[in-house]
C-alpha cells in the first residue's frame, strides 16, 4: 500500500469514527441493522424457514397470514414467507453484481478519460452522455426487452444505466488527483501509466465512488423490482419481490397480503441501503449533511 502524504482532504477514516458514525447515530445504526437483516435473510433465510418456496399446496390456496403460513399463501398455495426469503437473494445479488460491475467499468472509463484527456476523454464521456440521455428505467427496459428477460440481462441492463454516474465521478476526481505532486513524482520516477493509474490515482479516488455505490445499490434494487414486476427480470417460478407483486396485482381484493409483504421487503431493504449510504457520505464528506 502506498499511503499518499498529500493535501487531499480524504484522510483515512479512523476505526473510531467508523464506529461513531455507523452505530452512534440512530439513522445510521438503523441502516446497518436493516442491511444486516436483508443479508441475513438472503444467506440464512432457507435455513431459518425451511419451507420449499416453490411447493404448491392446493389445499391452502390464498390463505391469509396465520399459523403455519405467517405471511399467508399465494394463488398456488405457495408459502409467501419462504418466497420472500428466497427472493431476497435475487434482489441483493442483482444489486450487488450490477453495481459492482458498473463501479469497476465506470471507474476505469473515468480514470482513462480524466487522465489522458483529449479525444479519448471526449469520446468516452460523450458515450456516457448518451446513456444519460435516456431515462434509466426506460433504457433498462429496452435492453432487457431486446436481449430477453433473465437474471443476467437484468444485471447487465442495470449496470449499463449506472455506468455514467461512476464514470463522471471517477473522471472528475482523476482530473484533480492527476495534477497533484505525488502523481507527478511517480511519473518523474519513470513508473508506467497503468501503474500510476491503478496504484497511485485509483486509491485516492475511491471514497466518493463507494458512497455513490451504496446509494445506487438502493436504486438498483428498486430497478430490479421494476423489471421483475413488468415480467422482464428473473422469470417465474423463481421468486423475486417484483414478480411476487406482479402476481399480487391480480388478487388485490381477495388476498391483499400478497401485496403487503413483498413490498415491505423491498421498502425495508432499500431504506436500509439509503440510510447506510447517507451515513457513509457523512463519514467521507463531513461538509454535507
Amino acid at each position: 500500500m502506498n499511503a499518499p502524504a498529500t493535501a487531499l482532504a480524504e484522510a483515512p477514516v479512523s476505526a473510531r469514527r467508523w464506529r461513531a458514525t455507523l452505530l452512534g447515530r440512530p439513522r445510521a445504526a438503523m441502516g446497518v441493522l436493516l442491511v444486516g437483516l436483508a443479508c441475513l435473510c438472503a444467506i440464512a433465510g432457507p435455513f431459518l424457514w425451511p419451507l420449499d418456496p416453490n411447493a404448491p399446496d392446493f389445499a391452502a390456496i390464498l390463505s391469509p397470514p396465520g399459523p403455519g403460513h405467517p405471511f399467508g399463501t399465494d394463488d398456488l398455495g405457495r408459502d409467501v414467507l419462504a418466497r420472500i426469503l428466497n427472493g431476497s437473494s435475487a434482489s441483493l445479488l442483482v444489486g450487488l453484481v450490477s453495481v459492482a460491475g458498473a463501479l469497476l467499468a465506470g471507474t476505469l472509463i473515468g480514470l482513462v478519460a480524466g487522465y489522458f484527456g483529449g479525444w479519448a476523454d471526449t469520446l468516452l464521456m460523450r458515450m456516457m452522455d448518451v446513456i444519460f440521455a435516456f431515462p434509466s428505467i426506460l433504457l433498462a427496459l429496452a435492453i432487457t426487452a431486446v436481449l430477453g428477460p433473465s437474471l443476467g440481462n437484468a444485471v447487465l441492463a442495470i449496470a449499463v444505466v449506472n455506468l455514467p454516474v461512476f464514470a463522471r465521478i471517477a473522471r472528475a476526481q482523476t482530473l484533480v488527483v492527476g495534477q497533484l505532486d505525488f502523481v507527478e513524482a511517480r511519473r518523474a520516477l519513470g513508473f508506467g501509466t497503468a501503474d500510476i493509474l491503478l496504484r497511485t490515482v485509483l486509491p485516492n479516488i475511491t471514497a466518493p465512488l463507494i458512497v455513490q455505490g451504496s446509494l445506487l445499490f438502493a436504486s438498483a434494487i428498486i430497478t430490479e423490482s421494476y423489471l421483475s414486476f413488468l415480467g422482464l427480470g428473473v422469470q417465474p417460478p423463481t421468486p423475486t419481490w417484483g414478480n411476487m407483486l406482479r402476481t399480487a396485482i391480480s388478487f388485490l381484493d381477495l388476498a391483499p397480503w400478497l401485496a403487503w409483504f413483498p413490498g415491505i421487503a423491498i421498502f425495508v431493504t432499500v431504506l436500509g441501503f439509503n440510510l447506510l449510504g447517507d451515513a457513509l457520505r457523512d463519514l467521507f464528506d463531513p461538509r454535507e449533511g
Binding site: 413488468l230 407483486l245 388485490l252 423491498i266
Partner: protein, 314 residues
C-alpha cells in the same frame, strides 16, 4: 445570452446523434433478422423482402443507419405489427395522457415538497425536520408501483371511492378524468416530492446561513419575508435543476405507473409493445422519449439562466 443559447443547442447534436444510434442498434440486438423482428414471425416472405429492401439491409451498416434516419426525420417510424398502424400517430396519441399525468404529478410533488422543505430547513434539527426528512427518505425507498398498489388497496378496494385503473379523456368527462387521475398522480408525485423536498431543504439551509440573510434579519425584516423573499429566491436555483432532472426521470417513472393504472400513455404503450414484440413501436417510443428527455434538460438549463443571471454572464 445568444452565444450561450447557441452553444447549448449545439451541444445537443452529438447527444441526439448518440440516442439515434442507440435506438437504431436496439433492433439490431434482437436475435435474428431485423426485418422479421419488425414484422413479426407470422409475416409473409414478400413483406419481409420488401422491408429488407426498404431498410437497405443488404447494404453496409452506415447506409442502413442513414436510410433509417432519413425515414425517421420525415416522420416515418414504420408500422406496428399489431394491426399494421403507423407508429407515429400511436406515439403522438399516447403523448397527451402522459403529459397530463406528468404535469399532475409535478404539481402534487411541488405542493408537498416546497413547503415541507422550507419548513424543515427553517426548523432545522427539530422534530418537524426529522419527521419530514425521514418521510422523504421513506418516499425515496418505496418502489412507486408498490405505492400505487397500496393506494389502489386503500381507495379502490377498501374504500370504493376512486377507480383502480383506466382513463377518460378530460374534454368528454372532466370529473371522470380527474377521478382516474388522482391515484396515478399521487403515486408518481410522491417519489418526485421526496427528492425535491430533500433538495429544497439543503438549498434553503445553505442560503439561510449566508451573510445577506443575516443582514436582512438584522435590518428587522420579518422572518417570514426573509425566508420567502430573500432565501427562497436563491434556493430555487438548485431546486429547479433537480426538478428538471426529476421531470426527466418522471418519463421513466410513468412507464411503471401507467402500467399499474392502465393509463394509456407512452409508458404503457412501450411496455405493451415489448410484450407484443412490436419492435417498431419500442424503437419509436425509446427514441421519442429520449429526445423529449434531452429537450427537457435543455429547458432546465435555460430556466436556470433566467433564475441565476451569473450563468448568463459567465
Amino acid at each position: 445570452m445568444a452565444a450561450y443559447l447557441t452553444s447549448r443547442i449545439a451541444s445537443l447534436v452529438p447527444i441526439l446523434f448518440g440516442t439515434s444510434l442507440v435506438s437504431f442498434f436496439l433492433i439490431r440486438l434482437v436475435p435474428g433478422d431485423p426485418a422479421v423482428a419488425l414484422l413479426g414471425l407470422e409475416a409473409d416472405e414478400r413483406a419481409i423482402a420488401a422491408l429488407r429492401a426498404q431498410l437497405a439491409l443488404d447494404q453496409p451498416l452506415v447506409v442502413q443507419y442513414l436510410t433509417w434516419l432519413g425515414r425517421v426525420l420525415s416522420g416515418d417510424f414504420g408500422r406496428s405489427v399489431q394491426g399494421g398502424r403507423e407508429v407515429l400517430p400511436l406515439l403522438v396519441g399516447a403523448l397527451g395522457p402522459t403529459a397530463q399525468l406528468s404535469f399532475a404529478a409535478a404539481i402534487v410533488s411541488l405542493v408537498i415538497a416546497i413547503p415541507a422543505g422550507i419548513v424543515a430547513a427553517t426548523r432545522r434539527d427539530t422534530a418537524v425536520d426529522y419527521g419530514a426528512s425521514f418521510a422523504a427518505l421513506c418516499g425515496l425507498s418505496m418502489p412507486s408501483f408498490w405505492l400505487g398498489i397500496l393506494l389502489i388497496l386503500a381507495f379502490s378496494v377498501h374504500l370504493p371511492w376512486l377507480p383502480a385503473s383506466g382513463y377518460v379523456p378530460p374534454l368528454s368527462d372532466p370529473l371522470g378524468f380527474i377521478s382516474h387521475l388522482v391515484l396515478p398522480a399521487l403515486t408518481l408525485g410522491a417519489a418526485l416530492a421526496a427528492a425535491t423536498m430533500r433538495m429544497t431543504r439543503s438549498a434553503m439551509l445553505e442560503v439561510l446561513r449566508s451573510d445577506y440573510v443575516r443582514t436582512a434579519r438584522a435590518k428587522g425584516i420579518p422572518g417570514r419575508l426573509v425566508v420567502w423573499r430573500h432565501a427562497f429566491r436563491n434556493a430555487r436555483i438548485p431546486v429547479v435543476t433537480l426538478l428538471g432532472i426529476q421531470f426527466g426521470q418522471l418519463l421513466g417513472g410513468v412507464v411503471i405507473t401507467e402500467t399499474v393504472f392502465s393509463w394509456p400513455g407512452i409508458g404503457k404503450l412501450t411496455v405493451d409493445a415489448i410484450f407484443a414484440r412490436d419492435y417498431a413501436v419500442v424503437q419509436g417510443a425509446v427514441l421519442l422519449t429520449a429526445t423529449i428527455f434531452v429537450l427537457i434538460n435543455l429547458a432546465t438549463d435555460l430556466v436556470y439562466t433566467v433564475l441565476d443571471p451569473r450563468v448568463r454572464l459567465a
